[in-house]
């Protein structure tokens, strides 16, 4: 079904995210402003000050404090939300490891921005890649519509899985870009989010005093971490189910074309028989899609795109199924693991059991990736030399 333009309004990514958060009705929003995330929390703060919402809003004294507040609220069994970017995220990291390990659910927006030095406020995925190992579920949006959808999905995921969820949207490229977005009705969202919260014996409750986050001895620690690993991998079918439920119940689906090659974990775009696949995350997929439509018109050897929507947990078997017989693979990272293989390329290479791929790096610190760069990427993919190649 094609959603008509009449059902949409023009929203920038920040406002689309704020709308989703308002609809999800958290009881606490705690944040500290940082570019390019600021417009999100400014909007949420303004609505709260005008009495249009029911959440508590706390302008924390740092990102570290904001993360501690949402962790604390989650420990009390409350629905909490925060948002950050870049250096702000790095201030949160210690607490995020705790939230992941303690399985305390909240939703966080990460408006992706480079990390200093050199200082730069523009977009790349360096910040996101710094929290891959925290135990947070990590979703990545391509458009403002998907950013809105994924936030509502994230509130349900957090609740159902009892695990923190971070939704990534590209700074400026989405946060500051206005485009047509369909905002679902409050009733539909309420129905979708109406699930029984996992009974969690870790809630702090004065009637039943207990301790969370106590010391784990060497004989217990590893098995606890092993359980967390199992839990995250086991979350994949639940994530898929929740996406399907979202697009069944909430009518923004026409915009995202939900099909077997467009699942909760990933989207495959292009002819099934394409022997070359570009693999990436986030909003750059839009530019690649336009470029591939042009490219594939003029060639007998078409190219496809694989965009991951879920990076943690990594949908390994899905990746293997789709990519198994592909001859040429190139992974476009917008971040570095300085001195080693770029992070997404490393993940994909490990998932594919030795199937060879080419590593590309582009878009660092807001460097524009143009449609014309895509043909360079295809040439490099087909030349088969590992790289990393800087676009």
């Amino acid at each position: 079904m094609k959603t008509s333009i009449a059902k949409t309004i023009m929203l920038d990514g920040s406002r689309a995210v704020a709308e989703a958060v308002r609809l999800a009705e958290p009881s606490l929003v705690a944040a500290y402003p940082i570019t390019p995330q600021t417009h999100i929390v400014e909007t949420l703060s303004r609505w709260q000050a005008a009495g249009q919402t029911n959440y508590e809003y706390v302008r924390a004294d740092s990102e570290s404090a904001a993360a501690a507040m949402v962790l604390g609220a989650a420990a009390m069994g409350e629905v909490a939300y925060t948002a950050t970017s870049s250096q702000g995220l790095l201030h949160m990291v210690e607490t995020l490891y705790n939230a992941g390990g303690l399985e305390l659910p909240f939703v966080m927006t990460l408006a992706n921005r480079s990390v200093s030095a050199p200082i730069n406020i523009w977009n790349d995925l360096s910040d996101a890649m710094a929290i891959r190992d925290t135990g947070l579920i990590m979703l990545f949006a391509e458009s403002n519509q998907e950013a809105l959808d994924q936030h509502i999905i994230a509130f349900r995921l957090a609740k159902e899985l009892s695990q923190p969820v971070v939704v990534n949207l590209d700074g400026f490229l989405l946060t500051h870009t206005s485009e047509a977005v369909c905002v679902p009705s409050a009733k539909l969202v309420k129905d979708f989010l109406q699930v029984n919260r996992t009974k969690h014996n870790q809630h702090l409750d004065t009637a039943h005093p207990n301790t969370i986050g106590h010391l784990f001895m060497p004989e217990d620690f590893q098995s606890r971490r092993q359980n967390l690993q199992r839990k995250l991998v086991g979350a994949l079918p639940i994530i898929e189910h929740i996406y399907q439920d979202y697009y069944k119940k909430i009518d923004t689906a026409g915009l995202t074309n939900y099909t077997t090659t467009n699942t909760g974990h990933l989207e495959y775009y292009g002819p099934q028989h394409a022997n070359t696949v570009l693999i990436t995350l986030g909003s750059i997929a839009g530019t690649i899609k336009d470029a591939l439509d042009d490219f594939n018109k003029k060639t007998k050897k078409p190219v496809a795109l694989l965009r991951l929507k879920t990076l943690r947990p990594l949908p390994i078997s899905n990746l293997q199924t789709i990519l198994k017989h592909k001859k040429y693979l190139a992974v476009l990272d917008r971040a570095l693991s300085v001195g080693a293989c770029p992070p997404l390329a490393a993940d994909i290479a490990a998932a594919l059991n030795g199937q060879s791929l080419v590593s590309l790096v582009g878009g660092l610190g807001g460097k524009d990736i143009e449609r014309s760069d895509i043909s360079t990427m295809i040439k490099l993919a087909r030349a088969g030399k590992y790289g990393p190649h800087f676009i």
């Binding site: 333009i5 023009m10 500051h176 485009e179 047509a180 750059i284 143009e370």
Partner: protein
């Protein structure tokens, strides 16, 4: 696909005028996308903004490289070769200036490269006439409703109502007049 690139200085409303064209395009039933490109975050530095209009969703997120229209919000920028990067034979240009296009070509010889159409608009004077120079943005929006063919004057007026929802009626009415003045006062 029609692509507009706006050039101006921080504080002039470059981003706002681009956003308004996006709202107007959306009101006309066209898939629209608008996007700013900021320099360092302070007033007075060069700012660019982009607007795309298409029959289907605008998915590309690259900056606009080969614009169909250049909208230059300050005459000072007309001497800067950077504003003309990526122009095509069909690229047209609207400059905010009190000078007619023929005079602008004499003052800024690089404008000879724009052969498809050169237009000017004294947006600041019309805005001052209405009592607030900030309204030059909506004067420009009015001119673009006539020039680009993407949206009409009525769509531009609705865009003003969208953008200024909640503001007092006098301000909204003045901005509507600004759209009309822009529509009527383009120099060719």
């Amino acid at each position: 696909m029609l692509e507009l690139r706006f050039h101006g200085f921080g504080g002039q409303g470059v981003v706002t005028v681009a956003e308004l064209t996006g709202l107007a395009g959306h009101n006309a039933g066209i898939w629209s996308q608008t996007m700013p490109y900021f320099g360092p975050e302070r007033s007075g530095t060069p700012v660019e903004a982009y607007a795309r209009f298409s029959d289907s969703r605008c998915r590309s997120r690259e900056r606009i490289i080969n614009p169909d229209w250049l909208i230059i919000l300050s005459e000072k920028l007309l001497a800067n070769p950077d504003i003309l990067r990526g122009i095509k034979k069909t690229t047209k240009l609207l400059a905010v200036s009190s000078n007619e296009p023929a005079i602008l070509i004499k003052k800024y010889p690089q404008l000879k490269k724009i052969t498809a159409g050169l237009f000017s608009l004294d947006a600041d004077i019309w805005a001052k006439h209405l009592g607030n120079t900030l309204m030059s943005n909506t004067v420009i929006l009015g001119a673009l409703s006539k020039l680009t063919g993407v949206f009409g004057q009525a769509n531009a007026v609705t865009a003003i109502e969208n953008k200024l929802a909640g503001k007092n009626k006098t301000i909204i009415d003045l901005n509507k007049q600004a759209v009309h003045l822009g529509y009527e006062n383009i120099h060719r």
